[in-house]
Symmetry: D2
Subunit: 223 residues, 4 copies
């Protein structure tokens, strides 16, 4: 994905499912074009193929499982995600924490399939631990701020600044995103000023009264 970036996680929101999900994906595509901003979507798992075929912006999976492609009914093998044409995947989201050993393996399996990885983390120590594993990106999101009204960039700018500094020292190839409570252009602008390559958000767009307006506002923080 091109950075700086806004990654929109559709989670399992009803407002981001089925036809509404498809509309939201198209809005993301339109805003990406109109604002010349790099926008990436992580739609619901069951919509992944359809989204890749429908929009012309990078589509990420929300999760992959460390299972062998084949006899893995109901699981999400990385190869199945790659076969959709998706560009990458979130890993270890706070709503789907993974075993450490699996994060390590999945980063490598994804990489071998040309899937970019964004590993979600909850604090500074875990962020550094993940950076040691060599993903493309880490996204620091203190769980207590997720879905809230105060952006991580205001609530705890130091955690973001330190994550950027420490990850750079450990592994300069790993980009840092931040998330939790990100809603305004100011939040996005500050995230970049703190050294991140972008933001990861969900409700700020998916639950907005007017998702297009909300996303245009956010995108204006990047440019």
């Amino acid at each position: 994905m091109r950075t700086p970036v806004i990654v929109v996680n559709f989670k399992g929101y009803l407002e981001a499912s089925g036809e509404q999900g498809l509309s939201l994906a198209k809005i993301c595509e339109v805003v990406a074009m109109e604002s010349s901003t790099s926008i990436v979507i992580a739609p619901q798992m069951v919509d992944l193929s359809l989204m890749v075929k429908t929009v012309n912006i990078p589509v990420f999976a929300q999760h992959i499982d460390d299972v062998k492609a084949g006899s893995c009914t109901g699981h999400i093998p990385p190869e199945g995600v790659a076969a959709t044409g998706a560009s990458g995947t979130l890993l270890n989201h706070s709503e789907h924490r993974l075993k450490l050993a699996d994060i390590d393996v999945l980063i490598h399996r994804a990489s071998a399939l040309n899937l970019e990885t964004i590993v979600c983390t909850n604090n500074l120590a875990v962020t550094k631990a993940c950076a040691e594993l060599g993903p493309d990106y880490v996204a620091i999101e203190p769980p207590e701020l997720i879905g809230g009204d105060i952006s991580i960039t205001s609530a705890d700018p130091d955690i973001v600044k330190n994550a950027v500094k420490d990850v750079k020292a450990l592994n300069p190839d790993v980009g840092v995103l931040c998330g939790a409570g990100v809603k305004t252009s100011e939040d996005v602008k500050m995230a970049l000023e703190l050294g991140t390559v972008g933001v990861l958000l969900a409700s700020g767009v998916t639950k907005a009264k007017d998702p297009k307006d909300a996303l245009m506002e956010l995108a204006s923080g990047i440019n």
Copy 2:
């Protein structure tokens, strides 16, 4: 779904992913029409929406999670599956066993969303236990026969006969399917003679040299 039925589980097979998965789904649709047979597919989870939009036969999820629609990144809420227009879901496949309490809850959540449920089981006692929970169907598949060369209908006809008899006694609204090693029209025919309303299979079609031929052969066992 209309019975008698052939349910084709795509599992996570590479041969049933991406474009190949889409071709396979279309073959299933063609055979359903040409042979006037009820064929249901359970494609890879990430292809669910696309499959529903592409083919005109019932599409089932391979699995749903007992999570609340919303903050459930990377999981599969039943509501998200329903929003795709899917017709139902497998539950408790041998490759994705579920907690008893979750099977109970998911049968009810699916039902409330007009999703039919096929609960997979491994032996007679578990089949009866599942029948007590009131799914639409149970599918008995002894794990040691799955993916093998001998059909359950030959290897263990009694388990199928007893499942049909016992489930009928417990709850006549629950249909019985069987699976494991089902490959020929004779296997399908015998499954129906043993009292089932159809078969659940995977490799017999997805790994066949010519999936259309394989499925036509299977369909001929129904008519």
Copy 3:
């Protein structure tokens, strides 16, 4: 275990850990003798061996894992529980729900090791499902009543009565216990009148100001 019975689950309560746990176990033993009542304890997992060596009443594990004895660091193989001299095990407690397939297997593994099984259930359908699997006992405990002030026998006597009736019809070898909110001799008495062979409880004893008094009171409901 001898019925009618009072099964005291120590859970992970601090009041039932370490030396306090040992005192509590001895109180249970004393009350069992003084009141000539069958009392069974399910102490914390890490205290199992010590409890078996210390008290002369049946000791149950709170849980066993479906792992092979051997390379299963950190898990609880049934053989390890049997080797302590424990008399049985709870299975599928609401705080540790199990996969249906594992409940089935564990009932048989426990039985082969002469460990009695009490499978916990949350509603009538799940109770019947468990009875199909042939444990020694099922213990119906509606989760919304656990730890509360109103006994299941007052809050929902019908669920108990129906569980007893339905389980008897399905499998007369399976005894029914009930639990949730059980605190007084009256609750115990009513449980037996409803046809159960005893009660499963935790906080009513472990969190009582005077556990011995509390347990004597409960025991008086049996005799």
Copy 4:
């Protein structure tokens, strides 16, 4: 625990359960005294309390769960382990891998309870990731060598040397142990020469024909 150390993991071996487990623990104690070596045991979870009361060497849990002490039937709350008088715990053993977020939390919960932590790891990247989380020790054990006949110190001395070097650079407070295939005094000696503070082993002692001889031999590698 005092280093250099030999940590003996009893796993779930039948040879290390019940009375045999107790004998093995006493052997470990005797060897510790006779050879003036620091030996730590990690007995089966159900034997923890009894072992602490029986032997006069440090006893570790094999695992703890990130559950709140209280309503956690069948789980292993850290507080319950601390209440036994145990000295520490293994975490993330290859047979019981943990979520990254849980390893982070459990290290802190254990530390607050004065329980030492040994976090098991499988490769260099994961070892460094764990060191970022600040446990007392990491124990590197390539899974493919566990239970085998060739010691990690011969099969892959570089992974041990690099683990020691990298962990020291990241966090000098974290000691490095190594394990897998360790059976002889030479293996132990080499482990120390490579910079570790000890070894973690299981079958080399628990499955030895004469565990005392085996352990004496290992201990001679330390002195």
